[in-house]
């Protein structure tokens, strides 16, 4: 799976970071960084939760 963030929507609310800190990190510059663009399958439920919980609907998952 590939984690995609629409940075035009992202408002750095950091909800994703609270759910999956090994994949999402909001840094001191105020921007979100994706730490693992292709996380292992074992991370799927956390990534899905981040997708559902993102207040600006900025995160999506692409397969392959």
């Amino acid at each position: 799976m590939r984690v995609v963030v629409d940075f035009d929507r992202c408002q750095s609310n950091a909800v994703c970071m609270g759910i999956a800190p090994d994949i999402f990190e909001v840094r001191d510059d105020g921007f979100l960084y994706i730490l693992q663009e292709n996380p292992p399958e074992s991370s799927r439920s956390k990534v899905d939760e981040a997708v559902r919980s993102c207040p600006t609907q900025a995160i999506s998952v692409e397969e392959g």
Binding site: A14, G18, G30, R52
Partner: protein
């Protein structure tokens, strides 16, 4: 699901994810599929985001998933014993039967006496409200905002971004004093002023000043304050809070007290406070549940809680009261006002000690924490999004305050 907004939609998704494959009906008073509301006071009202950005993008219940949407349909009564919701919709009055029920009817805006009599007076809750307000702002009006809460403050910020003349009227001495404490309120008053927003603080509203007749109604011309002064305005936005939408539960036998009263697992309680039916849960703005993390009954009117509580309530509904798990989140919300991002976790009360934990108030980049006894019960980050998660974990783990924590 009664309520087809964020909590209703997320509850439906959670039921499917947990393996429930029976029919699901979502009853929604608005004529729209579930959408997300936070942009209505910000990007959507400003005009930078279109309607497509309000769509709930994540696995939304849709055709082929066995989810029946009854939109434009209002719940008007609940018969717990017969397990039926009475509804009123495009096809007239009817009933919807259920085995399990999720109540997610949310809240509706509190209004002001006389607000409905004049054109140009608005509340903001739904996308239709927002479209009407947005159209009115297109004419370049002078705007008065009654109430410096989250919605009022965000709307004021958005109006300034649109170059409009704005005055915020607040009965308390500073904005958001109730939610964030007076110290933070002073900081936020400064943010309003620095962006050219007029503030009339510590003064109540007496009523609206009618203007010229437009058709068979009058337009608003301003807001009259308790000190007899008048804030002239062509558009007035009333942002004085919301009321849980529970009128339809009158006579249901369920406990209603500033929201639908629930236990720690989101199962509704019976009138008098005893255990409820065991097949009705509630989630989102309407639910007043016992949060064991803070040991208090609370109702949270924020986005993230609607998502988290809907998922917890749906899971518990499937498990039943015997195997249900308590819903004990630290709770999180954010607010974007002008160039300021506020993020808040936890639950403070008047009397909690507020301490500057990181950064500088003068630079408007800091974390302030709220301490009760030794325990960190809440944290507020202002323009420090990188730090909120660390503090969320401390609130969730009931950490003690320690100045060297960082």
């Amino acid at each position: 699901m009664v309520g087809a907004s964020l909590a209703g939609a997320r509850a439906a998704e959670a039921l499917r994810r947990e393996g429930f494959d029976g029919p699901i009906t979502l009853i929604g008073a608005e004529p729209h599929l579930p959408y997300t509301r936070p942009p209505l006071s910000k990007q959507y009202l400003e005009g930078t985001w279109g309607r497509d950005r309000l769509e709930l993008k994540a696995p939304a219940p849709g055709p082929g998933t066995g989810v029946d949407f009854r939109l434009g349909t209002r719940a008007v009564g609940l018969d717990v014993a017969r397990r039926r919701v009475r509804v009123s919709g495009p096809d007239g009055a009817g009933e919807v039967g259920f085995d399990g029920l999720v109540v997610a009817t949310g809240c509706h805006p509190r209004t002001f006496p006389g607000a409905g009599d004049l054109d140009g007076v608005f509340t903001l809750r739904t996308v239709d409200d927002c479209d009407r307000l947005k159209a009115a702002l297109d004419g370049g009006p002078r705007v008065a905002v009654i109430g410096a809460g989250f919605i009022g403050s965000e709307v004021a910020g958005t109006c300034r971004k649109r170059g409009l003349d704005v005055t915020v009227i607040e009965a308390l001495p500073v904005p958001l004093a109730g939610a964030l404490g007076e110290g933070m309120g002073h900081v936020l008053a400064g943010v309003h002023r620095d962006h050219g927003t007029g503030l009339r603080l510590g003064v109540g509203v007496e009523g609206f000043v009618p203007g010229p007749r437009a058709g068979d109604r009058h337009r608003v011309a301003g807001v009259r304050l308790a000190d007899e002064s008048v804030v002239e305005a062509d558009v007035v936005v009333v942002g004085v809070g919301v009321v849980p939408t529970t009128g339809w539960l009158d006579g249901s036998g369920l406990a209603v007290d500033n929201g639908l009263v629930c236990d720690a697992a989101c199962f509704v309680r019976a009138e008098g406070g005893g255990p409820g039916p065991g097949f009705v849960v509630a989630a989102g703005d309407v639910a007043r549940w016992h949060n064991p993390l803070f040991g208090e009954d609370m109702r949270v009117e924020h986005w993230t809680n609607a998502v988290e509580q809907a998922e917890a309530a749906a899971r518990n509904l499937l498990r039943g009261p015997g195997r249900a798990e308590p819903f004990a989140p630290p709770t999180y919300f954010w607010s974007d006002q002008y160039d300021v991002k506020i993020q808040y976790v936890g639950r403070a009360r008047p009397g909690d000690r507020m301490v500057l934990a990181e950064g500088s108030i003068d630079e408007r980049r800091f974390v302030a924490v709220y301490v009760r006894g030794e325990r960190v019960v809440a944290a507020l980050a202002l323009n420090r999004p990188a730090r909120i998660v660390a503090w969320q974990q401390r609130v969730a783990s009931r950490s003690s305050w320690n100045p060297d924590l960082d």
